[in-house]
């Protein structure tokens, strides 16, 4: 007797369908060949110039990473320079399938995103954010391939001392002025802690905090002028760096040098465009792109056609670190062979990348998730272009100090 095939019961069909639906994400995950990364940056709001600069690096990252055998799929998200937006958008991106998060230029926004990533067990690779607390809170799903504020100050003060010695500039006094946001106050704390023991040839006669969203900085400059320092040490953002220098020119205040121990502002395209020749001769101490690195050259080659109105040399700091954060995530994904939070994070923590963009040793993270080995270079604006002037082994020009008077430039 032939056995007739039994018709599946309605409940069996429903159960089978449900099981198939539930299994789809796992199947998709297992089969995913590209890592889906949410890139959160402040592309609008008061941090927009730097956020846009980072974004330009992120836009070209997939094609450059593909050249080195990595596949990534990016979700570009604007944090609007707002901590709340950063937090909410991180949540949304993870809900929509992001398996890794990169960002967010701003320390305050990154701190908020870190809480979300920790709860959801999704790796967060910090591109740029210097507040020390990011890697001091015991977060398990965060790594930072960027110096802490303290490291920036240590490296920056050393380079400032070196550049004063190299130019034989006798400076007796300095005023430190900084934005009062999370990064700026972290830099202030670093300066208060490190400066007394740094053996600098000048004394710090005042520290002034200002609101980076203020419409003008004339009062701040009047306060600096009242102190009449030889050097002005600044921790700025792009917009306020312009206001600061412009008000110094209008108030006819001529310091010997304006230097940043590690902050944006003085090397942004916007700064050069707004101030023209008055943007020249200011110095920043920052990690910088290594022009001899193969990956740096590949990034520059992709940058030119993608962003013909922008210069790689100006964007290389922001674009370089953003690319490196994506590289860390992509490399970990390749090694882990999975995009699930725990194994991916484990692979991120075990990163050892010899080939990368910025100057310095291989990218590695300590037990706190911090890359402790990122050196700085001293960069001076010359003819509206940032040029490395120290350390000597990577310098392409000699530093010029004191800076020429405002009058008669260009």
């Amino acid at each position: 007797m032939l056995k007739t095939a039994a018709h599946p019961h309605r409940r069996q069909v429903l159960a089978g369908t449900a099981a198939a639906v539930l299994a789809v994400p796992a199947i998709v995950r297992a089969q995913a060949s590209a890592l889906k990364i949410a890139v959160l940056l402040p592309r609008s709001g008061y941090l927009a110039p730097s956020g846009q600069s980072c974004h330009r690096g992120a836009l070209i990252a997939p094609q450059v990473l593909a050249q080195f055998g990595h596949r990534v799929e990016l979700i570009h998200i604007d944090t609007e320079s707002s901590v709340d937006v950063a937090r909410n958008q991180t949540e949304r991106a993870i809900n929509e399938g992001a398996r890794c998060v990169v960002g967010a230029f701003d320390s305050a926004a990154t701190l908020a995103m870190a809480q979300v990533c920790e709860q959801r067990q999704v790796p967060l690779v910090v591109n740029i954010a210097g507040a020390p607390q990011l890697t001091e809170q015991g977060l398990k799903f965060l790594v930072r391939n960027f110096p802490t504020g303290g490291q920036l100050v240590v490296n920056g003060l050393k380079l400032i001392k070196d550049v004063l010695a190299a130019t034989k500039l006798a400076s007796k006094t300095a005023v430190f002025i900084h934005a009062n946001d999370t990064f700026g106050t972290a830099q202030r704390a670093g300066m208060d802690r490190i400066f007394p023991g740094a053996g600098m040839p000048f004394s710090l006669v005042d520290s002034i905090a200002y609101d980076p969203t203020a419409q003008d900085l004339s009062v701040e400059v009047t306060k600096i002028k009242a102190r009449n320092p030889d050097i002005v040490l600044v921790v700025t953002r792009a917009g306020d760096a312009i206001k600061l220098v412009r008000d110094m020119v209008r108030q006819r205040f001529e310091p010997q040098a304006i230097m940043s121990p590690g902050s944006p502002g003085l090397y942004d395209e916007e700064f050069y465009q707004a101030l023209g020749p008055l943007a020249d001769y200011h110095l920043c101490s920052l990690p910088w792109a290594d022009p001899t690195a193969q990956m740096s050259q590949a990034l520059e080659a992709a940058f030119k056609p993608a962003h013909p109105n922008f210069r790689f040399v100006v964007d290389s700091f922001n674009a370089g670190f953003t690319f490196e954060a994506l590289l860390v995530a992509a490399d970990a994904f390749k090694r882990a062979g999975a995009a699930d939070g725990a194994p991916l994070m484990q692979a991120v923590r075990e990163t050892n990348l010899k080939d990368h963009v910025m100057i310095g040793p291989p990218i590695r993270f300590d037990e706190k998730g911090q890359n402790p080995g990122i050196p700085s270079a001293c960069v001076q604006n010359r003819n509206r272009t940032p040029v490395v002037v120290l350390p000597p082994e990577v310098a392409t020009m000699a530093a010029v100090l004191p800076q020429p008077p405002w009058q008669g430039r260009g």
Binding site: D216, K225, A274
Partner: protein, 288 residues
């Protein structure tokens, strides 16, 4: 020390005059039409971009560009009032609020799409100049912008005080029913008032762009600043708006000088609270 303080006061006062002109538009519109323009900051930024484009495309100095921008904004205000605002007159305040906040969002996001979020500076030949008058160093742009703000405010005062249309608008503000009874075309006068209010906004935006680099993100802070100024000066009072602007400019500057500059805004809000407690109608405002 005294010369430094004098410098701080003068710079703060000049910047405050432009702030005052910016707030004047808000005050004029509320004083007559009784609509609080929550899209005020966005419209100021739109005017700044208009002045910026005139400078970039035609090389027109923003101080000269003040006139065409004000004229265009007058037309824009007239159009907005007749098409968009009029149907909301007399409706619940929250409906007006939603309408104008929505308008503001459309403007600022439109600007973001067209101009991107970057700050756009205007590089004027005299942008870095300053006048030395005894111990004083006065920024040329701030002096010119402040003087232009005074001229615009004076012209507005003359219009409202000594012209028939200005008197009719004041009649609407004082007694709407009475104005309608004597045969005044209230809707047309409302449209004119909104136009005049936006002309002030246009002029202030064109002057502001000489002092501040324009970017869309400025809008909310301008709205807030304008509200603080008109509340201090007295909502609906023209003189009050200018006085409020100067007071905010000077108090912020002095607070920044004597205390921490990052605490400047705290003093503006402190002044606002003080006025609300001691004289809720504002310094030059009338009791309801």
């Amino acid at each position: 020390m005294s010369s430094l303080i004098l410098n701080v006061v003068v710079q703060g006062g000049l910047t405050g005059l432009v702030y005052g002109l910016m707030a004047l538009g808000l005050s004029v519109i509320f004083g007559v039409v009784r609509v609080v323009n929550f899209a005020h900051g966005e419209l100021v930024v739109l005017a700044m971009y208009a002045a910026f484009e005139l400078w970039r495309s035609f090389g027109l100095d923003p101080l000269v560009g003040t006139l065409p921008v004000a004229v265009v904004f007058f037309g824009l205000g007239y159009l907005l009032q007749t098409t968009l605002i009029n149907p909301f007159i007399g409706r619940a305040e929250h409906e007006q609020f939603i309408l104008l906040v929505g308008l503001g969002m459309v403007i600022v996001n439109g600007l973001l799409m067209i101009f991107r979020p970057d700050a756009r500076p205007i590089n004027l030949a005299y942008g870095f100049d300053s006048y030395e008058v005894g111990p004083l160093l006065i920024y040329k742009v701030n002096l010119l912008a402040g003087a232009a703000a005074v001229v615009v405010a004076a012209a507005l005062f003359v219009f409202f005080r000594w012209t028939a249309t200005g008197t009719a608008i004041r009649a609407c503000a004082d007694n709407l029913t009475g104005a309608a009874v004597v045969g005044l075309n209230v809707r047309r006068l409302y449209a004119l008032t909104f136009g005049i209010g936006l002309a002030c906004v246009g002029a202030a935006g064109a002057l502001m762009v000489t002092i501040v680099e324009v970017r869309p993100a400025l809008a909310p802070s301008f709205t807030l600043l304008a509200f603080i100024i008109v509340i201090i000066g007295g909502l609906g009072s023209m003189g009050g708006a200018l006085l409020g602007g100067v007071l905010i400019g000077v108090s912020e500057a002095l607070a920044g000088f004597f205390f921490e500059p990052s605490m400047k805004s705290m003093f503006s809000f402190g002044l606002l609270i003080l006025v609300l407690v001691l004289r809720p109608q504002g310094l030059l405002g009338r009791r309801a």
